[in-house]
């Protein structure tokens, strides 16, 4: 059905740790993986599935590791990749960083986790919070904790343990929207979309029932309400905890939240957005001598819906690509700092605080060697990163968050809005 075995390899293809789940693929087959990968890479035909004879390798790369699943059946490939990414997630939560060292330093726990994450090729419990209840990193503590039955593992609510207690019951809701706008060299918007996500930090006791109300147009249409601005969500994806059939029938977002931090939902909005931050650039390349770059950043004037005040963008970062053989950088900026990052062939211009309606200018000058680099270089786009707090582009709003727990405590929901760039791209000339 899915994986016969899972391997963690270092960059050279050496097996750091592995687990044979089904025994129907020779474990030595993994030796073919790295040569195969290199052949494909050289030919420019890199592919997430490689095969050698009757063995298929499905792989992902994470920092300095390859995670590889083998199979000789018609496996569910999407399940395998989801699972490999899940392994990365679980290991990262266990070891902070997932890399060669953390695997070696924790091989006993890694084995235990691999044993619990998958059985005979079927993924099992992959929720790291629940796993941490019975697979802990300190052996000494094990005896006490582990003698308990892991009820949550098999509960219908497999993401939240019972008996959680907080003195003060609170839930923090972050509404984060990333906007992706692609502008071509002529200044016309090629594509734009908004990807939003609602994150929770839950500090609630017991088994609370939550209901989230948004200004969702479909919901408003269903209930016949018709006031205020509503938002059309093109597609919504929910955390495991949300009752999908309920949402499907009456658009109610009801759930028992996981404890602590989690992403409750993500959504996609197709409405056309004007770029919040606009870039104008002139890049002149004089072969064999120099490159001159002029970049202007303008922030559109925006008013907050909630309170009438000018918006401010924070941590604005403009990344301008330069040729790889450029040297001796010189910068002039009307605000902020410009820095040359040679390993990425970029100029990074940072502006800590950028009030709406303003515009700033940066000039850069690079020398070019007289002997020209023969290799063709790509033309990466200029990208802008920024954050605008207290604001969502789509106008999505949390209308209410109802919290009901059988003990009847009062709980406070807090809501925060923020808009980020998901990487605004500007194609160069």
């Amino acid at each position: 059905m899915s994986a016969s075995a899972v391997f963690v390899l270092d960059l050279k293809g050496k097996v750091l740790i592995c687990r044979n789940y089904k025994g129907d693929v020779d474990m030595a087959e993994i030796d073919h993986f790295m040569p195969l990968l290199m052949i494909h890479e050289e030919e420019g035909l890199l592919c997430p599935v490689l095969s050698h004879g009757s063995v298929h390798f499905m792989w992902i790369k994470h920092s300095n590791l390859y995670l590889v699943a083998t199979t000789n059946k018609n496996s569910n490939a999407s399940l395998v990749y989801s699972f490999l990414y899940k392994i990365v997630e679980v290991f990262t939560e266990y070891f902070k960083e997932l890399e060669e060292e953390s695997i070696q330093d924790n091989f006993v726990v890694v084995y235990e986790l691999l044993d619990e994450l998958m059985d005979f090729g079927f993924p099992q419990t992959t929720d790291s919070k629940i796993l941490q209840e019975y697979i802990t990193q300190e052996g000494a503590k094990l005896e006490v904790a582990k003698s308990k039955v892991p009820t949550t593992v098999t509960n219908a609510v497999s993401w939240r343990s019972e008996g959680i207690r907080y003195k003060k019951n609170e839930v923090f809701i972050d509404v984060i929207e990333s906007i992706n706008v692609l502008v071509n060299a002529n200044g016309s918007v090629m594509s734009s979309d908004i990807v939003g996500s609602i994150k929770l930090k839950t500090m609630l006791s017991g088994m609370p029932e939550l209901r989230l109300g948004l200004n969702d147009r479909v919901l408003f249409a269903l209930t016949g309400r018709d006031k205020g601005k509503t938002v059309v969500m093109e597609d919504v994806k929910f955390h495991q905890c949300v009752r999908l059939s309920r949402f499907d029938s009456d658009r109610t977002i009801s759930f028992i939240p996981p404890d602590g931090e989690s992403e409750l939902m993500s959504y996609r909005i197709n409405t056309h957005v004007k770029p919040l931050i606009w870039i104008e650039s002139v890049i002149e390349k004089f072969s064999h001598s120099r490159v001159e770059i002029m970049v202007k950043v303008i922030q559109r004037k925006m008013k907050y819906r909630q309170f009438k005040k000018q918006s401010v963008a924070n941590n604005v970062e403009v990344r301008v690509p330069v040729p790889s053989d450029a040297d001796s950088p010189k910068f002039k900026t009307s605000t902020g700092n410009a820095k040359y990052v040679p390993e990425k062939n970029l100029v990074v211009w940072t502006i800590k605080s950028f009030p709406g309606g303003k515009e700033f200018l940066m000039r850069a000058h690079f020398g070019l060697p007289s002997v020209e680099n023969n290799e063709l270089e790509g033309k990466p786009p200029i990208t802008v990163k920024f954050e605008i707090p207290y604001f969502t582009v789509s106008g999505i709003q949390v209308r209410y968050m109802k919290i009901i727990e059988k003990s009847g405590y009062q709980a406070l929901p807090w809501v925060r809005y923020i808009t980020q760039s998901g990487g605004k791209l500007l194609t160069q000339h």
Binding site: N20, G23, L45, G53, A77, Y81, L142, M265, K379, T427
Partner: protein
């Protein structure tokens, strides 16, 4: 302190030291020692010698230590089967431990010890665990049944574990249900005929209930299992769809894809005029689009599947072109897939946008991507007629960039555009000619030469251009040489006066100075044609060419249907049926989409054969059987007299109406019914034997498996001719898919890689349905079996003999050409069974000119019809008249032509007389 310290001991005598530590009295020391053992195992050292000592540590109440020992056991039990028995007792004991974690751990590990000897000891503990009060243990035990089944299927059946497993589908805990479903599906997959997953509305209901409650992985198991179910009617289908659609909002992409699979499959059963059908179509688009924001590998799987979905139901994503635009930082495999889908979605409405994008891509740096983008522009021109002009001008712009590989790629596609729209864009030829000197790739050179030859009369200096190529004739690749030969002959026919010298030069180069048989043969043919009958030569060489088809890379419909049933799996990623890459799955039934119900018409274009066949039936009067048969018997069965050799195929001959029986039977039937009466050749036996004779041989064969007859492999390409590569092969039809099955043997001294295959145009449009999958390099003296599914949607050109197939195989060494013949029976389609009445009427309606007759020797009627049916030759009626057994049969070819046959056999005489009637549709 970290575990890394365990990796550092590399002293000599380590094993002895570890042995001592393992046998230590101190618990802590023991645990440390086991960790060291596991660490050694992890880095690949053989520590199997410590087996007894490690197993001795098994009886412990320390869970961490127990897990490590179990881990060790799983790794080494197979190499020490006798000692593995030592562990049995502890397993049995642990399965009764009060701690459910330990019970589950024991039952989980037990199944991973693949030692036959100990399996029987494990049955009792497993039985208990399957009924355990703790769901955690039950869900683990459910999986253990699948493990045990893999080791010893008989034991599992005898012990009744399968029934217990089926009972677990009704378990109160959703996790247990999910694992039971997973285990049953796994077992059913390896035993396709076990009828294990006997899904009925009750179990489906249970599964759908559990679907709402189990983990994301459990949801995938259940959805994948649901996909195997065939609802009874459209109402049931709709109600399942309604309960599956909420899954499209799941955050896990794999859940979404599995839900898409169920919906795509069950949708087939919904009437298209149903409101719900439209709703469902609308619901599918947004989640598919969202999959493109997942991790790149998942995006890749999604895109490969979207490619299938777009072919099956283009309406779902027709408005979503923009999301397939390539992003700067997409990995190359995502870029290439997006490009493919962009072309599939291209239509008149969005072509401007698409072209703007493609033009942008063509200026990027990644050579492979740029090439594909240029090709894509050509494909757009061919697909969307209204855009052709814009595409051509875009291509011209690109040629102006003078980037070498862009220019070459553009010229190759412009050639195709010329083929598709003859006499429309010749004004660009001048621009193309300017770039003649920069072309260094054979394909581009050949394309350019073709253009010059084809339009020789409009290019003033065509002779000079072609002459310039001729100088280095021997250094060119075969492709270019052949093209140059043809082009110069064309030029000669168009401008005979000034090019006589040139044509003589090329003919002598081709026939006298070349070792290449193809080139030589083609040279001789031209030479003789030109010297005997220049008018005929003109008719042959300058004949009007058949149009090229719009989309050449569509997946063959039956394969597409099968792949839709495998959405999300490797099959859908490779675009190949599982049987093509999973060992031992040959006999496994191919999945099919359920038929549509109610008023909903089939998605496929209505089958031309059956529709036409039906309309051919007499409108009202249906005479009684006896009369009809009488009529049949009165048919004139004597072979018509010969009136000379077959005429050369007329250039305008309708492609669908093709000669079936090969060789001499050239224009046996013309377009449709009796449109082109033709002469009958004298001898029938020789050409026929290739196809039908083989089939009849079956009559004598014993123990042949049912299914289409496939002749034994013969050597197609001897090693001597192909620098050490030997190819032998045959054709087979499996579950509606024509397969070309080859054995490639490397008889050279060096490794062969990069295999690829191409077909020349052929009579039935056979074309590879996918690339030739030879994924491993072929070492010297190694043989590899390759099975290539074929489609019949490729370009069509009549071949001589009819079933001749010219194949080019490429590897890292060279390109090799060979030709082979396929048995005509490969082309008989599954729905070739004609209604009895229709058969009778049609038989009468087909003009005698379309009939041929021949004899087959040494055949036995008994069992023949069954065997023939396996090859899609359907027996419609059987009759004994005047001591003769008569069999009436129908078959239908992939291109919609029907063949009706009558077999007559004199009782006691093993020779058959076959009368064949053919009509095209």
């Amino acid at each position: 302190m970290t575990d890394s310290k365990y990796f550092t001991t590399t002293k000599k005598g380590e094993i002895f030291e570890l042995k001592a530590e393992l046998n230590s009295d101190k618990k802590e020391k023991k645990k440390e020692a086991v960790k060291k053992v596991i660490a050694s195992m992890t880095v690949g050292k053989d520590v199997s010698a410590l087996f007894p000592d490690v197993v001795n540590c098994m009886q412990t109440d320390n869970l961490e230590l127990k897990k490590l020992v179990y881990l060790y056991l799983m790794n080494y039990a197979k190499s020490q089967p006798d000692m593995a028995i030592m562990a049995v007792n502890t397993f049995v004991k642990d399965c009764e431990d009060p701690n459910p974690l330990i019970r589950a751990l024991a039952v989980r590990t037990m199944g991973c010890i693949r030692v036959d000897k100990i399996t029987e000891y494990l049955c009792e503990p497993l039985r208990k665990c399957l009924k355990d009060e703790d769901p955690y243990v039950r869900k683990t035990a459910a999986v253990c049944v699948a493990k045990l089944h893999d080791i010893n299927a008989q034991l599992v059946e005898d012990q009744g574990f399968l029934d217990t497993l089926k009972d677990l589908i009704s378990d109160s805990n959703p996790m247990v249900v999910a694992n039971a479903v997973a285990a049953l599906s796994e077992i059913a997959e390896s035993h396709p005929n076990s009828n294990l997953l006997d899904l009925n509305p009750q179990t489906i209901n249970k599964l759908l209930t559990a679907l709402n409650e189990c983990t994301e992985w459990g949801q995938i198991f259940i959805l994948d299992c649901l996909a195997n179910y065939t609802p009874r009617d459209d109402r049931e289908s709709q109600s399942i769809c309604e309960r599956v659609t909420p899954r499209l909002s799941h955050a896990n992409s794999a859940v979404v894809l599995s839900a898409v699979k169920v919906l795509m499959k069950f949708m087939e059963m919904l009437p298209k005029d149903l409101d719900y059908y439209g709703t469902l179509l609308k619901k599918l688009a947004p989640p598919l689009v969202t999959l493109l924001s997942a991790e790149p590998e998942l995006q890749y799987v999604a895109l490969r599947n979207i490619n299938l979905i777009v072919q099956r139901r283009p309406e779902i994503l027709k408005h979503e072109m923009k999301v397939f635009f390539v992003k700067y930082n997409d990995p190359i495999y995502v870029k290439l897939e997006k490009l493919d889908i962009m072309i599939r979605l291209a239509s008149q409405a969005n072509i401007a946008q698409v072209l703007a994008e493609l033009k942008e891509y063509a200026t990027e740096v990644d050579v492979d991507f740029v090439r594909k983008a240029v090709r894509a522009i050509g494909r757009c021109a061919i697909k969307v007629e209204q855009s052709a002009e814009r595409c051509v001008s875009t291509l011209l712009d690109l040629i102006q960039t003078k980037v070498n590989y862009v220019v070459q790629e553009a010229i190759v596609v412009i050639k195709d555009i010329f083929r598709k729209y003859p006499n429309k864009y010749e004004s660009v030829i001048a621009t193309l000619c300017e770039n003649l000197d920069s072309l260094d790739e054979p394909e581009a050179r050949a394309a350019m030469i073709w253009i010059v030859g084809e339009y020789a009369e409009r290019i003033d200096n065509a002779d000079e251009l072609l002459e310039s190529f001729l100088e280095g004739f021997h250094d060119e690749s075969t492709q270019v040489q052949l093209q140059l030969l043809t082009a110069i002959v064309k030029l000669f026919l168009k401008k005979p006066t000034e090019t006589q010298e040139l044509v003589q030069q090329v003919l002598s180069l081709a026939t006298q100075d070349s070792d290449n048989p193809d080139l030589r043969d083609r040279g001789y043919i031209y030479w003789r044609l030109l010297s005997t009958d220049p008018v005929a030569a003109k008719e042959v060489v300058l004949a009007e060419k058949p149009l090229i088809s719009e989309e050449t890379d569509l997946i063959e419909p039956t394969l597409l249907e099968e792949l839709i049933c495998h959405i999300g799996t490797l099959a859908s990623v490779y675009h190949k049926p599982p049987s093509a890459f999973v060992e031992g799955s040959r006999g496994v039934q191919h999945k099919r989409l359920p038929g549509s119900a109610g008023s909903g018409e089939s998605v496929d274009s209505p089958d031309p054969g059956s529709a036409a066949g039906a309309s051919e039936a007499p409108p009202a009067v249906i005479p009684s059987q006896g009369d009809l048969l009488g009529d049949l018997l009165n048919l004139d069965l004597t072979p018509p007299t010969t009136t000379g050799p077959p005429p050369a195929p007329s250039s305008g001959m309708q492609l669908g109406a093709m000669d079936l029986l090969g060789g001499g039977l050239d224009s046996l039937m013309g377009a449709g019914f009796g449109a082109a009466p033709a002469a009958m050749p004298a001898s029938f036996s020789a050409p026929v034997s290739g196809g039908l004779d083989d089939l009849f041989d079956l009559g004598g064969g014993v123990g042949m498996p049912m299914g289409a007859y496939s002749p034994p492999k013969t050597i197609w390409l001897p090693a001597m001719k192909a620098k050490g590569l030997e190819i032998s092969g045959t054709f087979a039809r499996r579950a509606g898919v024509i397969q070309m099955e080859m054995t490639l043997t490397n008889k050279a001294m060096s490794v062969m890689t990069d295999f690829a295959i191409q077909f020349n145009r052929n009579s039935f449009g056979l074309a590879p349905a996918g690339p030739l999958q030879i994924l491993t390099p072929l070492s010297p003296n190694q043989s590899i079996e390759a099975s290539l599914p074929l489609s019949t949607v490729g370009p069509v050109m009549k071949m001589e003999p009819l079933t001749n197939l010219q194949v080019a195989v490429k590897n890292n060494i060279d390109v090799f050409y060979f030709s082979c013949q396929y048995p005509i029976s490969m082309l008989f389609v599954e729905d070739g069974k004609m209604e009895r009445q229709v058969f009778l009427a049609t038989w009468k309606d087909i003009p005698n000119d379309n009939e041929s007759q021949f004899q087959i020797k040494d055949c036995h009627l008994n069992a023949t019809s069954n065997k023939l049916q396996g090859s899609n030759v359907f027996t419609i009626a059987k009759r004994t008249v005047e001591g003769q057994d008569m069999l009436y049969q129908s078959m239908k070819l992939t291109n919609g032509i029907w063949v009706l046959a009558e077999l007559r056999v004199q009782t006691g005489n093993p020779n058959y007389t076959v009368s064949t009637l053919i009509f095209g549709v």
